[in-house]
Symmetry: C3
Subunit: 163 residues, 3 copies
């Protein structure tokens, strides 16, 4: 199991994405003194990605009040698509350079009494494995945030290993 | 001091644990598309660990209202035991492979007006040094979460260095 | 762009700081079983830094209620000064050893209805680029916390790459 995890079988990611109808968005650029990703010593650190689609925020508010669990899972999946778009840019579009998804941290804005933070972030985790196979299995934390930018229900950041 | 930190004296961890009566639980397996730990380029990234004991959650609610500070510190210690169980699994039970605990992030669910987040996470930090000696000293953040899964009062994730 | 990011042009950091009138505080020491920073495999992991000035907390309370956005940005800048003081200690005062700021995570305590978490953390991000030039550009997450120690409005932790 240790071997499996540290040396996941390389996959034809592009073919996987096509076969599953997964279309990556353009990698978004933040307009501040930070960058969407930094490559450092074999890891790509990716800035927190919001559920933004074509420059718009389809979901706003708190999960369990303004946003349903199913919609929040969809939003987390969109965060994951945006993470994949960023890592794709970081490796200059060459999926052969991707080793694995190492870690996700999902921050969820929930209504009082909502505790299903992991189920929300599953939307992102499931996408990683759907898109990357075993190389998509990652360590993860899912946390309740008091609020998130633009009142989005979920933000996810990530660390990937690359070669 | 820099040398001490980057090359902590190796310790007989198993003997330390026995001498202090620290018994590690079985490493828990999450049932989703993520894994409890990933080894990547010499670091083990461990998923957020809750204060779960034998599959049960002895503490629920917010620190300062439903859970006392002392109980929350005990809960954070249990998070630490679960982190140690995971890293122990990641190094195939061979403590010689452990270099050090690098970083902890503790998320605490506190009642309004509760601000002693660091004191709660001390329960986990103290365990690391008790169990690992100087190799247990780590960088840390302690944050107030709006909520955590199963309404637990604290979750801690970690990065360890291994060889 | 990938090259720029992975090999930022070295800068005379000391001269930059002087020219901009940036004075680093003494690196603060936490009084618990954790340390302000850990160097591990070429990365320095720094503990969450609060907006503390000469041992005092000039700003307390929630952004958007007790603390204005402008004051919170200033507080985030102070977090950044404290991060730089810690990395400066970690590299024994030799800025030549600094490769870059890799990642920041900013936790912001906001009033209900406050969502400008990124604008607050910009106070820290802007300082990084002001102090370090291109080597200061980093990946980042900005999160709403339910509360922070001593009721401070913002805490920022960081990963730097060093040689």
């Amino acid at each position: 199991m240790a071997v499996e995890r540290s040396e996941p079988v390389p996959e034809d990611i592009e073919a996987r994405l096509s076969a599953r109808g997964i279309v990556l968005p353009a990698a978004a650029s933040p307009a501040a003194n930070y960058v969407p990703w930094v490559t450092s010593l074999g890891h790509v650190f990716i800035a927190g990605q919001a559920p933004i689609v074509d420059g718009r925020y389809p979901w706003t508010g708190r999960v369990g009040a303004d946003v349903s669990l199913v919609d929040a899972q969809h939003a987390a999946r969109v965060c994951g698509l945006n993470l994949l778009a960023q890592v794709h840019a970081a490796i200059d579009g060459d999926w052969e350079r991707l080793v694995r998804c190492v870690r996700l941290c999902g921050y969820v804005s929930g209504a009082p009494g909502f505790f299903d933070f992991p189920k929300v972030v599953d939307g992102c985790s499931d996408l990683m494995v759907e898109a990357l196979g075993d190389a998509g299995r990652h360590a993860r934390s899912a946390i309740g945030a008091a609020g998130l930018r633009f009142d989005v229900p979920v933000i996810v950041d990530a660390v990937f290993e690359v070669r």
